[in-house]
Amino acid sequence: MVLNAEHLSLTLGAGRAEVLRDVSLQLDRGEVVLLEGSSGSGKTALGVTLCGLLPPWAGNWDLHGRIRLAGVTVEQGRWNSEAGILLENPWTQLSGMKETVREELAFPLECRGVSRGEIPEIVERYAMLLGVADLLLRQVHTLSGGELQRVLTAGALVTRPRFLFLDRPLTEIDFGFRRNLLDVIRSQVKEDGGGALLVEDPWLMPGERFSRVLRLDGGVLGEFGGEAANGEALPEKSVPRRNSPCGTLLRAEGLSFGYDPGRMVLEGVSFSIGHGEITFITGPNGAGKSTLGRILTGILRPHAGELFLDGISYHEIRQRDTMSRVGFALQNAGLHLSRSTVREELELAERWGHPPGPLTGILGLDRVLDTHPLELTQSGRKLLALALATGANRWVAVLDEPTQYQDGDGFRRIADAVRFLSGEGVAILLISHDPRLYREFPEAGEIALGR
């Protein structure tokens, strides 16, 4: 047995909120176990506790129970070389001491005193496995979310810990690479006789099978036999978006853009979208999906090509007016928030000319009007940001990973909001790695990048 946790009870914060209640968990050698649970159910707290990373110097926590990892008792705050962790937000996990991908991947090995001669070979092997070999010389801050997630997964694996806690490692990984990434984790766990606890939304891994599926609900751990994540393979249903049949609202002709000279992210992108049409922007990690979203809203200007909104060139529209017509719900929902209650945020949106109107009810925000936006769960913040970015008077709405963190209810609300906006004539552009959305809108078109 790799990991044996018995009767864990954890309380956190000044209010002594009970996060884990008598949780017992065993991981056998070679096991990759899926952990499910709604947003805020304590999955991350469980993983951090199992790795012994509850900080003794900060935070108000109280833990009861016993954890043994690879035969050694885990003490909180004392480093365990057999534990590896990957947290949810890739941008918070860079060492901050390194500039390139190669250096970042070397960092965990350097920390463990691996000899200088061995490090480059290990780094290159993991870079190959995780499909980032061609990124080794790139500056880490220029990576896309998906590229960074691959790099950090490599960083978590590179020291070959016996126990791995991986918190949503697939969220930003493109469809085509998810199985590869899971295979890399599985094969390492098997080779090393280790174990992995994987937190991920099952719908991101259609058809994937795990040795066990656990569910954390209200701090209590339940087990769902020995089977698999649900879901089906992603349908090949997509209508390439080239020319809109129902009156062009947004048209792009030969768009090209690059952040660095000589490294173009977008090249010769052309499409047209009509009123009320729903279109997916798809492509592998680093293909420029979010970049295209930023160009459409006027935040970035393309190096070549032209954009037309309702027949008028972007060159003839002030940036402020473009932003007013083209709403963009950023992937990081927290960036949109600035007030102390949801009600104030909605009032502000009204003052700035984009009242969410019926979206407030559709997205369930009327139930949390007096809540501080930062007290909402991640999924709640996404719903709020969606309402704020796509209120009235928008012609186009770009939604970057709108269903991230959403369970069934949240997903349904977002799908309803998209339908509502579409019905209002708003052209919707969806950047998403969630297969549920593709199934929900089989009629949607596609702008395929990086192919």
Partner: protein, 226 residues
């Protein structure tokens, strides 16, 4: 490539060269150092020139206003101006030195130097976090402004930007605190904070050029001293 320790010695020598001579010469050395730092091609990705120049500009304006202007009745004091300029030279020297270092020492080299000097991992982490904090805070504010513009808030003028940012500061600092907490967990999990042997891929070596540059700094310091 100069050894990072040599770069640090050059920076210290520069501070010394600005502070030792009389005001006029010190100011000339400061401006020469600033110009040279800006002209030399940067070896790092650090984009702090604007921030550093803003700090210097704000410093010179305020110091001259504080020392050189009488308000009741209004008038200018030559002696006060000189005093303000003298204070500016003393403040400007370390600012230009840090700007020089930020453009010439890569993170990887600083990391390797710290390990070679056997500094405590906690000290290294604090140093890097301090370096990281201002660019990250600036980037976060820019991201927040962009997100608010996307919501429709007018943020064209500086006053608009302040009005937009002030209510969002709580959210910005909360998110930075969350980032630091997450990052601390990951750094701890990788074993960086453990005492004991650490390695670094980049091998730092003193070369002939390092020796020559250090000798030059020592000679220059000697001339200024005597």
């Amino acid at each position: 490539m100069l050894h990072p320790l040599t770069q640090i010695i050059v920076a210290i020598g520069f501070i010394f060269a600005v502070s030792m001579p009389p005001l006029e010469e010190g100011l000339a050395v400061l401006l020469f150092g600033l110009g040279a730092t800006l002209i030399m091609p940067a070896r790092t990705e650090t984009r702090l020139v604007r921030s550093f120049l803003t700090v210097l500009a704000v410093a010179v304006i305020f110091l001259l206003l504080i020392h050189g202007v009488w308000w009741h009745p209004f008038g200018l004091s030559r002696a006060g101006m000189m005093e303000g300029m003298s204070a500016f030279v003393r403040i400007g020297a370390p600012v230009v030195a840090v700007l020089y270092l930020s453009r010439n020492i890569r993170s990887e080299e600083l990391f390797a130097l710290m390990l070679d000097l056997r500094l405590s991992p906690v000290v290294v982490l604090i140093l890097f976090r301090t370096i990281w904090l201002i660019p990250r805070l600036t980037a976060r504010m820019e991201e927040t402004l962009t997100a608010l513009r996307l919501r429709g808030m007018p943020v064209e003028s500086p006053a608009d930007r302040v009005r937009a940012l002030v209510p969002a500061l709580g959210a910005i600092f909360a998110s930075l605190f969350a980032e630091i907490t997450d990052n601390s967990l990951v750094i701890a999990a990788r074993g960086f904070l453990q005492p004991g042997r650490k390695t670094h891929v980049l091998a730092l070596r003193f070369g002939v050029r390092d020796g020559a540059v250090i000798m030059m700094v020592i000679v220059l310091a000697g001339i200024l001293w005597f």
